[in-house]
Every structure is written in structure tokens, then in C-alpha cells.
Symmetry: C2
Subunit: 201 residues, 2 copies
DNA sequence: GCAGGATCTGACCGATCGGTCAACTATCTT
DNA sequence: AAGATAGTTGACCGATCGGTCAGATCCTGC
């Protein structure tokens, strides 16, 4: 029984559907995505989608739960091991999270407020609120809070929106994005020690 | 015929519907909003909505067109009168635009990529792309482009998302928002002259 | 080769979608 | 008072929504 090389059609189909659904959730929104459209894009029937996932909501949960779990882990490490260099590590890990799970982050950050009735989104919103409070606890000025909110929403927006605003040829690579995100988010989340942000070249 | 004091039930009803629709478009998205829900919230029937506006799309256009027109005006002044202090004036006017038309800006910035098939949104997307190119023309580094994208999307996200992340009591007032937005967007869009941004306290 | 589970699909369901239409009422003009 | 006009609405339409179900097909172990 093949578990590594050929990934057994079951998990392969489920993963395909999950990936297709995630892209659509991030690009046209959860409400704007239909199971029929997901099925069409993935090359299955709508019934097959509902065979692998009990409901549209279950499909959303399967698609974004890993990203939320990692986000919670990053958050726990940050609020747990509080210290001087904590913010720089936070920026490191958030940038990685953004690049690896950009669609999922877009869903639960940008669409989070409007989908809070879904348990998985409510969980993500709670994590975002925890992070917000942890940040605001140290810097109480409204400007710092706005800086944080803009960085959070802007980063989530940018990685999936860039696709439609600039052509494929001149869109930055992921490595370029990583460097730039590190610099920009570093300025927003760790504005105190500004010495180690080289502002690129 | 009263044109000032009592706003004649026609325009009053139309304005009410426009405002209710705009709030829903911004909070749950264009695709996630139904004419029935708009009608219910405004206290009319769905037929009445379609009497005042020919279609859901026409309602969207009426709701966000003024904001787009003002955005285009700000953009024209910026690319036309190019100069040293141009960026600070740009920040001034964009902050005003954000505060006055926050729901509309949220719609055509955040949902712009997914609604580009609607003519009014395509027009807004073209304006956003013009602004992007005007900014990138002067600063070619990827970091500056990312900084701009985050500022744009983040500001659009923040003003309508803040409602759901912090309670009414501790949410900043519009004046506080204006000061903070001015500082944060100033750093992102006019990073050259950093002397007047006090980097908070 | 055959039984049995896994996978996939078409037909169908009630609900809701955006939109049309005819009828009803309120208001204004003459 | 009468007619025209503007505003509002319920009934209805075809399409699509998320979801159910019974069967068809495929694959595996015996």
C-alpha cells in the first residue's frame, strides 16, 4: 500500500479540493465561492466535494486550520517568552507564516470580521484579538495601534492582491517579498530597535 | 416643491437604501450581500430597492462612485502637479478620503481584485493601478513597493475592521484616527523627509 | 471471480438568489 | 373631483445555492 510515492487517490483528491477551495475563498471570498465552482475547477462533481467534506464550512475549516494553528503557536511563544528580542522573532515567524499560508491568512484576517459566526473563524479572530492586546499592552499610543492594524491587514491584503495589480513578469519573487516584508513589518511591529533593519539596499 | 428642508421622500428613500447597502457591501462583501437583506435592514421591500436602483450592480455603483471620483481627483492632482511637497499633500487628501468614505474605499480596495468584472470596480482598479505606477516610478525598490501596498490595503482594512476587534468604548475617535493615519501613511508614502514624524513618544 | 468497501456522480430537495410585472396607494396638478 | 404620476409591494420567474440520497463504478483482498 503506497503511502508516500503515490498518495492514494483519496488524500490526493481531498488535497486537490482543499487547495482549489482555498484559492477561491481567498480570491472571491467565502460567500462568493460556490461548491459547484470549486468542483468545476478541480475537475470533480459537486457531490464529490461533499463526499470528501461534510459541508462548505468543513471544507473551509480543513483549508485554513493549519494556518490558524501555526498562528496560535507563534502567538503563544510570543506572549509566553516575553523579552527584548521577542518582537524580532515574532516578525520572523509572521513573515514565514504569511508566505507559506498567504491564502489562509487572507481569509481569516480580511474576511474574519464578516465570518465570525463560523467556529473556525471565531477561533482565528480570538487569536488576532490576543495578538492585538499583547501588542497594545506594550505600546498604548493610538498611532502604534494603527500602525499594527495597518501592518496586519495590509500584509494579508498584499500577498493575494498583488496578483491582480501587477503582471506576473514584474511581480516580486517570494524571496524578495520576504526581505521586504521583514523590513516593513519590522518597522511596524518592532519600531524600538531600528538599527538592524537595513531598509534593503 | 421642497428641495432643501424636507428631502422629498424619493431621494430620502434612495439615500437610505444607498447607505444601508454600502455598509453591508463593506462588512460582508458584495457577493455576501442580498437585496432582501438590504431591504429588510432599510425597512423596505426588495421590490422597492429595485425600483430605486435598476440592479444590485447599479446600487453598488451609486454607493461607491462618489468616493472613486474623489480618489481620481486626488490622483490627478498628484500626478499632474509633481514636486517635492506633493507626497505630503497626497497623504493629507488620502487620509481625508479614507475617513469620509471608509466603507466605499474598503469595497473597491479590498474587494477590487475579485469584482473587476463590474465596470465601476474596473474603473477604481485602473485608478489604483495608476497610483501604484506613479509611486513605483519614483521608488523602484521592492521594499518601497511592499510598503505602499501594505499601507494602501491596511488602511482600507483597518477602518472598517476595527469595529469588530475593539469595543466601541476604546475605539479611537475619527480625530485620533486622522492623526495616527497621517503619521503612519506619511512614513509609508513619504519616507524621504522623516523629520516631521515623531515616531510616537 | 467475487464480495465489499471506497470513491464518484446524477437526480433531486427546499431555500434563496437577482430580477420582472401588475396592481395598489398616496400625492400632486388641473 | 378626476386624472396623471410617483412610490411601494406581493406574487412570481428561472437560476443557483448548499445539501441528501441512491445507485454506478472502481479497487482491493480473498
Amino acid at each position: 500500500m503506497p503511502t508516500d510515492a503515490q498518495p492514494t487517490s483519496r488524500v490526493r483528491a481531498a488535497d486537490e479540493l482543499k487547495q482549489v477551495a482555498l484559492e477561491q475563498f481567498a480570491t472571491v471570498g467565502f460567500a462568493g465561492t460556490s461548491l459547484q465552482h470549486i468542483a468545476d475547477d478541480a475537475g470533480y462533481s459537486k457531490s464529490s466535494v461533499l463526499y470528501h467534506y461534510a459541508s462548505k464550512e468543513a471544507l473551509l475549516e480543513a483549508a485554513i486550520e493549519p494556518a490558524i494553528a501555526e498562528f496560535e503557536a507563534v502567538l503563544d511563544d510570543f506572549v509566553g517568552g516575553r523579552g527584548s528580542g521577542g518582537r524580532r522573532l515574532l516578525v520572523d515567524r509572521i513573515v514565514d507564516l504569511l508566505l507559506e499560508h498567504r491564502e489562509a491568512v487572507h481569509v481569516f484576517i480580511i474576511q474574519g470580521p464578516s465570518l465570525s459566526h463560523l467556529p473556525i473563524i471565531a477561533r482565528a479572530n480570538a487569536a488576532v484579538r490576543r495578538l492585538t492586546e499583547a501588542i497594545n499592552e506594550q505600546s498604548v499610543s493610538v498611532t502604534d495601534q494603527v500602525r499594527f492594524g495597518i501592518a496586519l491587514g495590509g500584509a494579508a491584503f498584499l500577498l493575494t492582491a498583488a496578483r491582480s495589480y501587477v503582471g506576473d513578469d514584474q511581480r516580486p519573487t517570494d524571496d524578495e517579498f520576504r526581505v521586504a516584508l521583514h523590513a516593513v513589518l519590522g518597522e511596524s511591529l518592532a519600531p524600538a530597535d531600528r538599527d538592524s533593519t537595513p531598509t534593503t539596499d
